[in-house]
């Protein structure tokens, strides 16, 4: 389950899908039509058409301020809808928000549990609010504590947990009523890499059990682990497809080069034929080209003739990161 490469996880997920075949095609569990939310004149979410099928692990990506949080808050019934409409599990977003709230688990971006309460008390508080029967409470809290790796910390006050543990506790609290839909707003932002990996292992497990998950994230490796990805830019949904298809949007190949003089290399690369785009990636320069093998040779020759030193130059696989930056640049240029 915990694969190191995103693509493999997605492939495995589609094979192991637990939804019976005879139920496909299923009606969407979340559907919005020209859903819009305005703050004064600013359209934070602009004519959003979103269709999410049951059991999807849907990643919402986009730069800061693209409207990811507003979208999730709209879906959670926390904001008034300005224009358009939407349904979640068959209930209308504007007219039946309370019915929707029974069926979703919402996790806000900031830590929003009670710091003075212990881990267990937080879980039990939400169990009561969601009308979980006392018998089920005992079983579920134990299971969720184990699931989130918090059993030994159950009596610790939530305020005294590490950032990663707080996120896992928040997730456990949203799961206490076993909702079919999860709305998670950047659940792994500010979390260390190990906790981030653990958190995604939990999400993948939930996904495999059929829970529909909408998760916003700034991390492209996380987007790679989703079954569907929606890219938002300035309130609009720019593209919505599987990670493989989004990567495929980028025609051509990626050349990775480690130059000694980064600035000169960057300038030179953009003048070369067939180089569409240059992105920086740490010490490396990522060049999007039309034909990898041919351009690699030309680039190496050009660098040699200009006497620009470099460590390595190779053709690398295109990841979500490059596809994402390329798409955002195209949007910005419009």
């Amino acid at each position: 389950m915990a694969n190191s490469r995103g693509e493999e996880t997605v492939a495995q997920v589609s094979v192991n899908h637990s939804i019976p075949n005879h139920l496909i095609p299923m009606p969407p569990i979340i559907e919005t039509r020209t859903l819009t939310r305005k703050f004064k004149e600013n359209r934070a979410v602009d004519s959003l058409d979103l269709t999410i099928k049951p059991g999807e692990l849907f990643g919402l990506v986009g730069p800061d301020g693209a409207g990811k949080t507003t979208t999730l808050r709209l879906l959670a019934g926390l904001l008034y809808v300005s224009e358009g409409s939407g349904t979640i599990a068959g209930f209308d977003l504007a007219a039946q928000p309370e019915a929707i709230k029974q069926r979703i688990g919402y996790m806000a971006q900031a830590f929003s549990l009670y710091g003075k309460l212990s881990v267990l008390e937080n879980l039990l508080f939400f169990a009561e609010i969601y009308d979980v029967s006392p018998a089920a409470q005992k079983e579920r809290t134990q299971r969720l504590l184990a699931f989130a790796g918090l059993t030994e910390f159950k009596d610790r006050r939530a305020a005294h947990l590490s950032g990663g543990m707080q996120k896992k506790l928040a997730l456990a609290c949203t799961l206490i009523h076993e909702p079919p839909i999860l709305l998670l707003d950047e659940p792994t932002t500010g979390v260390d890499p190990v906790s981030r990996r653990e958190f995604w292992n939990i999400l993948t497990e939930l996904h495999l059990n059929g829970t529909t998950i909408i998760v916003s994230t700034p991390y492209m490796d996380e987007a790679d682990r989703c079954s569907q990805v929606g890219l938002m830019y300035e309130g609009r949904l720019v593209i919505c497809d599987s990670p493989a298809n989004i990567r495929g949007q980028l025609q051509g190949d990626l050349i990775e080069i480690f130059p000694e003089d980064w600035h000169q290399a960057h300038r030179l690369a953009l003048t070369l034929e067939g180089v569409r785009e240059a992105q920086t990636y740490g010490e490396a320069l990522h060049l999007l080209v039309d034909d990898g093998p041919q351009r690699l040779i030309e680039i190496q020759e050009a660098f040699a003739s200009q006497q620009l030193a470099y460590k390595t130059a190779r053709i690398a696989p295109i990841r979500m990161e490059e596809a994402f930056i390329s798409l955002i640049r195209q949007m910005e240029q419009r």
């Binding site: 008034y80 009561e128 609010i129």
Partner: protein, 377 residues
């Protein structure tokens, strides 16, 4: 409303009160501390008012008069002086609030029943202390006449009543010798018991600030369940004060408690409901704790101090303010506390005030529930 939901919120809130020392102090200690502070602040200034005496007569009668004037705790003889200039100096420095000048003919005028030749100079920058000094000098002078020279008066065939040399009017709440605290403290109690309203306003704003309200809004909890669940613990904590504060009043301040404690307890619960509903309204409208704190003082505590008739009679207020006073729970509760403490009246007299408290409580809660939306915007 689902009782399980309300209790879940109440229990959580209790954890917060008990585990957060500042909240615990705010709700449990503040009312007691405030009562002690204000009861002393509002009576201590008008005890031991320093005065100077310029005795131009220097007779044995004038000396015993001065002794009588300064015998109590109300007036304190700061200095015996010999010239008017000295008095001016002492007044300028603020060492004394009033000066008493006995004319050279003090003894002879008094004994010949020509009057009481006294001059009192008061510091006009502190009229309360000055007026207090005048009242008390007059009161003690009368006492002096009644005791020291009544024999001479009667020997001449007059009755003391016919000779009242001074028209005596003393404002009760500025007169320790008439036990002003008996009236003041029950009024103050009505004010300090409303303190949990501040906590309730802050707790809602606190949840808003910390994002926990956003999480709660994403759950199916009903608005009324949340608001009632939040008020309940502060009503319970407030009722602890309802027990502690009268004990303090009776044992420490020696205020007589003549009415029924059970009635006091029940009516206090109604008052807490009404005043906490005001706190809830503040919490519903204010985005931050700082704003909630400021608004609480503006709409709950300052009006509660000045408009509820504790210090200034409501009857003497302008029409508009009288209407506002009727909308304040403290106005009605002040009548209840005074009524139960001093005359010890019962529900047969206090019921209209109880009805007003219930009415205000439901009105305020209704407004809060109406404007509290499970939306961020």
């Amino acid at each position: 409303m689902n009782l399980r939901h309300i209790w879940a919120v109440t229990r959580k809130e209790f954890h917060h009160i008990l585990r957060e020392r500042s909240t615990l102090i705010l709700v449990l200690i503040t009312p007691t501390a405030l009562l002690l502070l204000m009861a002393y602040a509002l009576t201590v200034d008008i005890q031991n008012v320093p005065i100077a005496v310029l005795d131009l007569d220097r007779s044995s009668l004038s000396r015993s008069f001065v002794q009588q004037i300064t015998a109590g705790e109300d007036l304190q003889l700061y200095a015996q002086v010999n010239t008017l200039d000295e008095i001016e100096g002492l007044l300028m420095h603020g060492d004394i609030k009033a000066a008493l000048i006995l004319s050279p003919a003090f003894a002879s005028d008094l004994l010949s029943l020509r009057g009481l030749p006294l001059q009192i100079i008061i510091d006009g920058t502190e009229p309360e202390s000055g007026a207090f000094a005048v009242d008390h000098i007059a009161w003690r002078a009368e006492e002096f006449i009644n005791t020291a020279i009544s024999d001479q008066i009667q020997a001449r065939g007059f009755s003391i009543e016919s000779l009242q040399p001074i028209d005596l009017r003393i404002r009760t709440w500025f007169n320790p010798s008439l036990k002003p605290r008996n009236d003041l403290i029950p009024g103050l109690i009505s004010m300090v018991l409303g303190m949990p309203a501040l906590s309730v306003a802050l707790t809602l704003a606190h949840e808003r600030e910390h994002g926990t309200l956003e999480q709660l809004m994403a759950t199916p909890i009903k608005r009324s369940e949340l608001l009632v669940g939040k008020m309940l613990p502060y009503i319970i904590v407030g009722l602890v004060n309802v027990i502690v504060i009268p004990i303090l009043a009776v044992l420490w301040f020696k205020i007589p408690f003549n009415g029924s404690f059970a009635l006091f307890f029940v009516l206090s619960a109604l008052f807490l409901f009404a005043i906490l509903s005001m706190g809830i309204i503040v919490g519903v409208f204010m985005p931050t704790q700082a704003a909630a704190l400021a608004l609480s003082f503006l709409v709950i505590f300052f009006p509660g101090f000045f408009l509820t008739g504790i210090f200034f009679p409501i009857a003497s207020m302008p029409e508009m303010m009288r209407m506002e006073a009727l909308g304040l729970p403290g106005t009605h509760y002040a009548v209840i506390t005074r009524g139960i403490f001093l005359p010890g009246v019962g529900l047969n007299i206090l019921w209209p005030y109880a009805v007003m408290l219930v009415g205000l409580g439901f009105a305020f809660t209704g407004v809060a529930a109406l404007f509290f939306k499970k939306k961020l915007g």
